[in-house]
Symmetry: C2
Subunit: 139 residues, 2 copies
């Protein structure tokens, strides 16, 4: 029951919010831009404005339901939060996104922030490259 998630997050349970959450949960593609979500809603037959999609995603981010990736190249990409922190590997050729966790890197980041006198609030790590499939295609 997703309405619980919304209520828990202090958000009124409305149709647009439920539908956006549904899209994020049910779409195979785990990482979606606001535009992607908007298009998915249209295909689903829901008449929800793009501005609302942006508002809802931003609220979800504030509520910790969703996190926003800041990838190179214009538009933001969102993913459902599943509790576990992770970083991303992006294929520059096919835009596939994979996730990984590396405790060694996490620890080094803490050490570096401490050395520089920073109180770390968050961090973002993206590795860009060409995935296995695209390497094959390119010969």
């Amino acid at each position: 029951m997703e309405s619980q998630d919304l209520r828990k997050a202090g958000l009124k349970v409305t149709l647009p919010r439920l539908k956006v959450l549904e899209i994020l949960e049910q779409t195979a593609q785990r990482h979606m831009s606001a535009e992607d979500v908007y298009k998915a809603l249209l295909e689903m037959g829901e008449e929800i404005g793009l501005a609302t999609v942006y508002r809802v995603l931003t609220q979800f981010e504030g509520a910790g339901l969703v996190s926003r990736l800041s990838i190179e190249g214009g538009h933001a990409v969102f993913e459902l939060v599943d509790g576990s922190h992770h970083d991303h590997l992006l294929c520059v050729s096919c835009n596939r996104i994979e996730e990984f966790v590396d405790e060694v890197i996490e620890e080094r980041q803490r050490v570096i922030a401490a050395e520089k006198g920073f109180e770390m609030t968050e961090h973002s790590l993206y590795i860009y490259g060409i995935c296995k499939e695209c390497q094959k295609k390119a010969g």
Copy 2:
């Protein structure tokens, strides 16, 4: 003689390009947005259009003279390339940017990319936090 750098990069030596390069080299602030560079040019009395600043910075990036940081929050920031790779620490309160290099992280990234079958082309790592000075101010 900066004109050499431009010629070496395959760029015709023009006044706007020389001036932008000069700003990047002589400004205390190592990390500048296009707008920052544009304002610095105006203060210097140079009548160079913002569009040109963008074009020049993009060409410099292509030529490897400059690198573009993709920081959260809208506008891109540029820095002169000095040969050494490094990552960044950003203060979310005063926007100060510090640099660091960590060979352990570099190596782990290579390993992770290899494990996932990616041919790594580049990576970006930003640690966000509150710097020492801002911690003091905030009490």
